[in-house]
Amino acid sequence: MKNQKQRQAAYMRRSLLDQGYLDEQFIHLEELQDDANPNFVEEVVKLFYTDSARFIRNIELALENGPYDFARLDNMMYQFKGSSSSIGARRVKRQCSQFQEYCNAKNIEGCKNTFQGVKQEYATLKTKLETYFQMER
């Protein structure tokens, strides 16, 4: 039973990496995990989701009505992206970059649409990782 769970966890991990949800930063986090911090990766992911929620909120608010401050939007996204990179959230990061491009182009519609993509990837990854950690334990 335990073995099977472990196998499933390994499989899920593999697919997360292969499908580009996660990049090698995630692997690095795993390498940091040790006896002193046996749940290090999970803790970091949790911390990320807790802390980054404010970015999502703030960007959402900023996108609600004009006038749109693209510089500010870009800056917020920049920070959020930096944070996402800490856990290796590759797809999320890609959406972030795209969002930033729309900011540069001052394309609010592009921003809004992309932001939906950001939120989606962000949420999807969260669910998958939660599942993964459960399996892994």
């Binding site: 930063q25 690095h28 986090l29 390498e31 940091l32 040790d34 911090n37 290090f40 803790e43 970091v44 911390l47 990320f48 802390d51 980054s52 920049y78 920070q79 992206k81 930096g82 944070s83 990179s85 800490s86 856990i87 290796g88």
Partner: protein
């Protein structure tokens, strides 16, 4: 904290024998996730890690625990302070190696980091192996210091002129030093463990630095060279290497100041190195009007940027003063701070280039440094008197010269030097419209005072403060003056302010004697960062030098915002910046 246990590497760390294990790292990042990851990575390298999420917090820790860290790693994007600024502060105050981090690897950013003194620039995501190697920066720095010291086998501090000695006096020393003596001892440069190779560094006391700057000015900045300087200085134990490395730092400092000046378009930031005028008299507003006029007439061609001030009628006073201060000999081109260094009159002896942002009052005219002209009033002798009372003597000693915290402009003692905040008081002009036709800071003393932000918080320092008034007054009586002008508090709480000297920005510590008019040290208080705790302890300026201290001492480089520096020049009498301040 672990006492200095000197090892071959010279690290004072408890586990120096297992170096690099036990390397004391301070990590600064506003992203909690990254902070956690970095902490873990560094711990895996067997380093001793301290984390903080704010730049301000980092500075506080660094100051509190002098010699408590070996290296600092900081993210470039901090919410409370630009990472580059933090970098400069750390470099200036603690002289620790700093590594910058960022998600953004754009060349221009990286270059900026290097220019600000980062010893490395890491891109996130950061890998373990990159962190494993950071100890090399620490070691390298130690070796450089040892080399710089040349054959001087004494334990000496370097760059005290930058630090204003505040730290020295307060007993906060580089980790290698255990000396907690007063200034005298420091200047003796004999302390610590002579046998430690790494400690053999030249202790650039204010006096020594002053000699240095004097020599530089005499030779002419353009033609300067270590050998020439050394010869002129006449300090037997100093080596050519010592001077060379000091010169290098000085140059960098000036460049930075200059840049800042330009950026800030400091109107008042005219630095005159024009000590040649050598006015013997203390600052007296002799021709305040004249001074101002000159300024108004944009004699200060070089004023970088802020023409507003010039245009500001009010700035008359400043201008008047400036004239004097800026040592603008009518015929000579004034080296306005904003101006390129080169434009300065060769004769300027003050030696403070733009970078110093100190405006040396033209001795001829005026002893009164024309701080910001924003005040628009010609300073009058009466100011002096006015000021006096305003000084709050922190410790009751009213006539003590304010210690020049970090940089003192080597000014001819007889000349009043006016250091104008190079930052043109753009803000000032806005802030202090000519409505007041009174000596700027006199009038505003009360107001000004209130405006100062407490120095304690470095973040506050960066706030433009209505400097005008306060500081100087208080400074006058306070032995230690953080004349980091911005905060009034500083003045009254010298202790607190001391710490904040940010030398980087070329804070000019003006030794304000009692005569010193309450030039409010506005503008950025260089001292801001650390309060002047230490100031009390030392006497930077001996009373004589104070005679002409211009009210405008400051180095605004460091600050993000400009400080309006409405210093009434009149009271500058007796204010003398004897020492060059390097504030970058």
């Amino acid at each position: 904290m672990a006492n200095s246990s000197k090892t071959s590497a010279g690290f004072s760390s408890p586990r120096s024998d297992t170096f690099p294990a036990g390397l004391r790292v301070l990590v600064v990042d506003d992203d909690v996730t990254w902070l956690k990851i970095l902490e873990k990575m560094l711990k895996k390298c067997s380093y001793e890690v301290t984390t903080c999420g704010l730049a301000r917090e980092a500075l506080y820790l660094l100051r509190e625990r002098k010699d408590g860290f070996d290296i600092v790693i900081s993210d470039v994007n901090m919410p409370d302070m630009d990472g580059f600024k933090l970098l400069e502060y750390v470099g200036l105050e603690m002289d620790l190696p700093v590594i910058m981090m960022s998600v953004d690897g754009e060349t221009s950013r990286v270059m900026k980091g290097v220019q600000h003194g980062a010893c490395d620039y890491l891109l996130k995501p950061i890998r373990m192996k990159e962190l494993r190697n950071i100890w090399q920066h620490v070691l390298r720095k130690k070796m450089q210091e040892a080399r710089d010291a040349g054959n001087n086998d004494l334990d000496q501090y370097d760059e005290v002129w930058m630090l204003g000695g505040a730290e020295l006096l307060s007993g906060k020393k580089r980790k290698d030093f255990e000396n907690k003596d007063d200034e005298k001892e420091m200047s003796d440069s004999r302390f610590g463990d002579p046998s430690s190779m790494k400690k053999a560094r030249v202790f650039w006391t204010v006096d020594l630095h002053q000699k240095f700057v004097k020599a530089v000015n005499q030779i002419g900045f353009d033609k300067v060279g270590p050998k020439k300087i050394l010869d002129l200085m006449g300090v037997p134990w100093l080596t050519r290497e010592n001077v060379a490395s000091h010169l290098q730092k000085y140059r960098l400092y000036l460049t930075r100041l200059q840049k800042e000046d330009e950026a800030k378009a400091s109107f008042c930031g005219m630095k005159h190195q024009d000590v040649s005028s050598k006015e013997t008299s203390s600052l007296t507003l002799q021709n305040p009007v004249d001074v101002c006029t000159d300024v108004a007439n944009d004699k200060y061609g070089g004023v970088s940027g802020d023409k507003e001030i010039a245009q500001n009628g009010k700035s008359n006073i400043c201008e008047n003063k400036v004239k004097g201060v800026v040592s603008m000999p009518a015929a000579e081109p004034r080296s306005v701070v904003g101006d390129s260094f080169d434009s300065q009159t060769a004769g300027s002896k003050i030696g403070l280039n733009d970078s110093f942002r100190l405006v040396n009052t033209d001795v001829k005219n005026a002893k009164v440094p024309a701080p910001y002209c924003s005040t628009g009033e010609a300073p009058q002798p009466q100011y002096k008197q006015d000021f006096k009372p305003h000084f709050q003597s922190a410790n009751g000693s009213s006539h003590q010269p304010l210690p020049v915290v970090s940089h003192q402009i080597p000014v001819d003692r007889t000349q009043p030097t006016c250091f104008l905040n190079h930052v043109p008081s753009r803000e000032e002009s806005d802030r202090y419209p000519d409505t007041d036709n009174k000596p700027s800071y006199f009038k505003n003393k009360s107001e000004g005072v209130g405006k100062f932000s407490p120095i304690q918080s470095t973040a506050n320092l960066f706030q433009p403060v209505s400097h005008q008034q306060t500081n100087f007054h208080t400074l006058e009586q306070m032995p230690s003056t953080t004349w980091c002008a911005t905060s009034h508090n500083v003045v009254s709480h010298p202790q607190s302010s001391q710490g904040n000297l940010t030398l980087r920005s070329g804070s000019i510590v003006a030794s304000l004697g009692e005569d010193m008019c309450g030039a409010s040290i506005q503008g950025e208080c260089f001292l801001a960062n650390n309060g002047l705790q230490n100031i009390e302890q030392f006497d930077y300026n001996d009373p004589q030098s104070i005679s002409g201290v211009p009210t405008c001492l400051y180095d605004t480089l460091r600050f993000d915002h400009e400080y309006p520096y409405p210093y009434p020049i009149d009271s500058l009498e007796g204010i003398v910046m004897d020492q060059g301040l390097f504030i970058v």
